[in-house]
Amino acid sequence: MEYFPFVVVAWILAVGLHGIVTSRDLIHTIICLVVVQSSTYVLLLGVGYVTGGVAPYFYDISARTKAVDPVVQALSLTDIVVEAAVTALLLSFAVQAHKRFGTLDPHKLVEFRG
């Protein structure tokens, strides 16, 4: 079980990438991108976990209590905001893509090739 969380990470990453590669709908592609990024949350939180550690908040407990790594939690928070921003922007592209091309199939959203 020591490496199980990392198997989960690999699985989420692979599923997300598979979704992007086989996608026939842009919204689906974008959501799969979110899935790919979700794997990084699990990985970040996974590498910083300390067995038996509490959440790193010491409002009502001693500051010497064993706690998990606060750095990866801060990094995940940053990561989540990045994800929200990128997703919002991509969805706005999807709105315009549907207006211009009349479809959301990535195979047909091609103006330039070659």
Binding site: F4, F6, A10, Y57, P70, V71, V81, A85, L89, S92
Partner: protein, 248 residues
């Protein structure tokens, strides 16, 4: 590539990448054995150094505050970019929503709870945004809650009210104050001859008190403004596209 060729190439490549990943993970110390030293040093020093009992906030707004500046501006840039991409184009016009009552057909079972919860949501958002230094809260969480309050109004079908409560010029100004204010706090430290983003405000005497943490609650407040305004702006733009903009 045909979808089939692509799937074959992907399967082979993904298997290779998975093997690489497995090889890398084998070098990790194993789940639950985080070796440090970054985290333990922070855990050891943070409460004493910053007087904040919320150590994640201390990392976000103090130790790695400069990351958070960048992150705020990512949101800021995304909201600005959304306004660019979804601006009304030459061949588009605004239409009033269906029937003239400024309301969408939303059942009362949705409308009433949405409107009831608006007030408490604002309160919780405000509380979260102002307690970063003490407990698991902070500008992001609070900002999102504040934005949700306005989004509840939108959900209640009151899109016009939603738009009137959050005109674009106001949102832009709040965003600018939120993201810019954070950057300016850092600049004040610089003007005082300290490194950028140094904590120049007195830390307070009791760790965990609302007034403790020096610049942490201040920054958290500005982050809350930025996050709330950015998300309201984003939802507003999408709402406008769905409800108002029609191609002429």
């Amino acid at each position: 590539m045909s979808p089939r060729q692509r799937l074959v190439l992907f399967t082979v490549a993904m298997a290779g990448l998975a093997a690489c990943f497995a090889w890398a993970v084998a070098g990790l110390p194993g789940f639950g054995n985080y070796p440090g030293p970054y985290g333990p040093v922070i855990l050891h020093d943070a409460v004493g150094q910053t007087h904040a009992t919320g150590v994640v906030s201390a990392v976000n707004f103090e130790y790695r505050g400069f990351d958070t500046v960048g992150e705020e501006f990512i949101l800021f840039a995304a909201a600005a970019g959304l306004s660019v991409v979804l601006r009304r184009l030459r061949d588009e016009r605004e239409s009033r929503p269906v029937d003239n009552s400024n309301r969408l057909p939303v059942p009362d079972s949705v409308r009433v709870p949405a409107l009831i919860f608006t007030g408490p949501t604002v309160l919780i958002g405000w509380w979260l945004a102002s307690h970063a230094q003490t407990n698991p809260s902070g500008g992001f969480q609070g900002g999102i809650m504040l934005a949700s309050a306005l989004i509840l109004i939108y959900l209640a079908g009151e899109f016009i009210a939603f738009r009137r409560l959050s005109p674009v010029a106001l949102l832009d100004a709040v965003e600018a104050v939120g993201a810019g204010g954070f950057a300016v706090i850092g600049l004040i430290a610089l003007a005082m001859g300290l490194p950028y983003l140094d904590n120049f405000v007195p830390l307070g005497t009791i760790p965990g008190a609302v007034s403790s943490g020096g610049t942490i609650p201040l920054i958290s407040f500005f982050v809350g403004l930025e996050v709330a305004a950015a998300f309201v702006a984003i939802i507003g733009e999408f709402g406008e596209q769905t409800l108002l903009v029609r191609r002429s």
